[in-house]
């Protein structure tokens, strides 16, 4: 038995595929490189669509269903594009006992979106984190990459409004 090493070409000319290829090359195109490759793909494209998953599957010789199984097992991976803005509410224990659930509830109510989802107008993605490590600032959230601490539900929505409707 022999294995052919037919080179699988990226799905498009997009330069970002070079980054994905680099990760696969670094790890010898081994099937075990799947998670690292998905990380690079998501980092480069923001999320994992069917086109990327098919390419990674072919390039690493991992069955499609296995790729999909891995991509959906780990909550870090997004299979849908994210909104223009995002808000990550920390649900670590320290934040929780200081009212993080109320903050999340207020956001969900105000923007009609569930944690893990994106608003219909694609303006806001709401996510939760297990712990931001900012327990000293509890309850905390990250709004477009900026950590905001010691929040009340009202303050959080105020801050979100400033970002979404400046």
């Amino acid at each position: 038995m022999w294995t052919t090493s037919v080179k699988v070409s990226p799905p498009s000319e997009d330069k970002r595929w070079k980054l994905v290829e680099a990760t696969m090359r670094r790890l010898g195109h081994e099937p075990s490189a799947l998670i690292e490759t998905l990380h690079t793909t998501q980092e480069s494209f923001g999320y994992l669509d069917d086109v990327s998953l098919r390419y990674v599957s072919a390039a690493l010789r991992v069955p499609l269903s296995k790729v999909y199984g891995v991509a959906t097992f780990y909550h870090f991976f997004n299979l849908k594009p994210q909104g223009n803005h995002n808000c990550v509410v920390c649900m670590g224990t320290a934040c929780y006992i200081k009212g993080a659930a109320n903050i999340l509830g207020e956001i969900e109510k105000t923007y009609q979106v569930k944690a893990g989802g994106t608003t219909e107008d694609n303006e806001l993605s709401v996510l939760t984190a297990r712990c931001l490590g900012s327990c000293g600032l509890a309850p905390a959230a990250v709004i477009d990459g900026e950590v905001a601490g010691k929040l009340s539900p009202e303050q959080t929505v105020e801050r979100l409004e400033k970002v979404i409707h400046p």
């Binding site: 081994e30 099937p31 075990s32 490189a33 799947l34 998670i35 690292e36 998905l38 990380h39 991992v62 296995k66 199984g69 891995v70 097992f73 780990y74 909550h75 870090f76 991976f77 649900m91 670590g92 224990t93 320290a94 929780y96 006992i97 200081k98 984190a129 297990r130 712990c131 931001l132 490590g133 900012s134 327990c135 000293g136 600032l137 509890a138 905390a140 950590v147 601490g149």
Partner: protein
């Protein structure tokens, strides 16, 4: 790099540091960084430049200074004989606007308004072994680590100790795994060392810290990454491995960045790689990123994840020590365990065994959070009473509220009530109290927390983190969560409570891995100490803490 070159580098770095009369240290670990400590650092740098003090005053980023609730933290150090100046001053709640005042103070009096007292129990009661370099060195420069004798222990062991002697020292120290269950580290190393792996064995650092409310490992990785690499290298030498992985959460970008830099620096200096220090010992380390799955803290799930698969555990035995990553003998320890290795080899196992209690040796790092004055990272000797941690180190409960419970051990742990505050913190005592050491989250709750709600919170966690492989954990956690919700809504009956306990029993005893086995623990411990709160929800349809929203149920089982 051989030992001689290493001491030369250390001496050169120390000399370079001595050139500066003053040093301003800005905490650049995650918590302070999230309150803009990077901007403070650049403001200080600008100010120093403006005053023309670049030659005499160094501004640098350092690791975690522990009192996170007062962050951003900045410390100033002054050398020399000037007796009127305190050698070191710690400042709290610093903003970029404070930069001029801080730089000005180097020549005169400390800035009183920002001063953070360090003669308090928070600092004085701590014993730093794991965190000995944290907040003192720049984690992004290997030279600073070398200047505090970093990698000297590794080179000493490689040239003067046999692998068996290294293991013997670890065994003598009594060190137990800091990731959870507290398995003897010496025993684990011995098993891997004895395993017949041909030429391939692996050492894995479990940095998939996932307990909600725990950030000890993150701080260690961000504050002193070389310490972990050196500990792993010592382990690899001891068990006969030549490859290592650090499995770190993708949610920790700063830790990843610093680890990557540290690995590169160590390789460049010949402290990782082939034929380290001219010996036959070779050791390489690679990073693998987790992707948001708590279950990957479980050894066999972590291995599956490193192999690029769904992070699902498999039945043990065989244990990873015999058959781990790629089927090879594999040693897995967590971050804090590896952080203890260097001091043990450097100072000797007996020294380490002199700290702590009869069965729990050394210190333990905790992330102290919740309804407490001093939130942050603490390191205390094993056996320290909980009361001392809560009321002295932690400074007690804010707002005149009453203490209710301290939660340890994360989602597999429990809530310890006030009547047990005099218990010492060690592996056995915590288990006796229905809790668990876990990785070191310690969350203080006051009277405003509802314990049924807290149990529901942890069950939601376990449900969404269950990998779904085994039936009891996959389905049982969902049922436990639903039943708890029914209780918090005031819709449950005593029959529901009985059913809940029965499901708990099955999940605890039949689940495949520790996640399922430990999942009912928060229910057991809250029921043990706060049964009246459960009864209040069920019988009186009331939430004593006023947290739960009670729905008047109109359907009841008539039994």
């Amino acid at each position: 790099m051989i030992a001689e070159e290493l001491s030369k580098t250390a001496a050169a770095e120390r000399e370079a540091q001595a050139q500066f009369e003053h040093r301003i240290n800005v905490c650049v670990a995650a918590s302070c960084l999230s309150s803009n400590s990077d901007k403070i650092k650049s403001a200080l740098e600008t100010e120093v430049k403006k005053k023309g003090l670049e030659k005499s005053c160094q501004v640098r980023g350092v690791g975690c200074m522990r009192l996170c609730s007062r962050g951003p933290l900045v410390s100033t150090e002054t050398q020399g004989e000037d007796e009127t100046q305190p050698a070191s001053v710690l400042y709290q709640n610093v903003t970029p606007e404070d930069a001029p005042a801080l730089v000005e103070s180097l020549k005169g009096e400390p800035v009183k308004a920002l001063e953070c007292p360090t003669d308090t129990p928070f600092f004085k009661s701590q014993v730093t072994i794991v965190l000995e370099n944290s907040g003192k060195i720049d984690p992004e420069r290997i030279e600073e680590y070398i200047a505090v004798e970093g990698y000297a222990t590794l080179l000493k062991a490689l040239t003067t100790m046999t692998p068996a002697e290294v293991i013997a020292e670890i065994s003598r120290s009594g060190l137990r795994g800091r990731g959870g269950a507290g398995y003897s580290t010496g025993l684990k190393w011995t098993t891997v060392a004895k395993a017949n792996g041909g030429s391939r064995k692996y050492v894995i650092c479990n940095a998939d810290e996932g307990d909600p409310g725990a950030f000890m490992d993150r701080s260690v990785l961000e504050s002193d990454p070389h310490r972990i690499l050196e500990g792993m290298a010592l382990a690899a030498y001891a068990v006969g491995a030549s490859h290592g992985y650090i499995y770190v959460r993708a949610e920790y970008p700063l830790a990843i960045k610093r680890l990557r830099a540290a690995i590169r620096q160590a390789e460049r200096n010949g402290l990782l790689g082939t034929n380290i220090s001219g010996t036959t010992f070779s050791f390489t380390v690679e990073l693998r990123l987790g992707a948001g799955a708590f279950v990957c803290g479980e050894e066999t799930a972590l291995i599956a994840s490193i192999e690029g698969k769904r992070g699902q555990p498999r039945p043990r035995p065989p244990y990873p020590a015999e058959s781990g990553v790629w089927g090879c003998p594999t040693l897995i320890n967590n971050v804090e365990t590896f952080a203890n290795i260097v001091p043990i080899i450097r100072e000797g196992g007996d020294w380490f065994a002199g700290i702590g209690t009869a069965k729990s040796k050394g210190t333990k790092v905790f992330a102290l959070t919740g309804q407490i004055h001093n939130t942050g990272l603490i390191e205390v000797p094993m056996g320290t009473p909980l009361r001392e941690i809560v009321y002295e180190i932690g400074g007690g409960i804010p707002g005149g509220k009453a203490f209710k419970a301290v939660q340890t051990g994360g989602p597999s742990g429990g809530c310890i009530p006030a009547q047990h505050l005099d218990s010492p913190v060690d592996y056995e005592s915590l288990i006796q109290l229905g809790s668990f050491m876990g990785s070191g989250g310690m969350i203080i709750m006051d009277e405003t927390s509802c314990m049924v709600d807290v149990a529901t919170y942890f069950m939601e966690f376990c449900m969404s983190e269950s990998c779904g492989k085994c039936v009891p954990c996959r389905v049982g956690t969902a049922h436990m969560y639903d039943l708890l919700q029914k209780i918090t809504r005031g819709e449950a009956t005593m029959a529901d409570l009985d059913l809940l306990l029965e499901v708990c029993d099955v999940v605890k005893n039949t689940s495949l891995c520790g996640l399922g086995m430990g999942a009912p623990q928060p229910i057991f411990s809250t029921l043990r100490y706060f049964r009246d709160e459960y009864l209040a929800h069920i019988e009186a349809k009331q939430c004593p803490a006023g947290v739960c929203k009670i729905h008047e149920g109109n359907e009841e089982v008539i039994a």
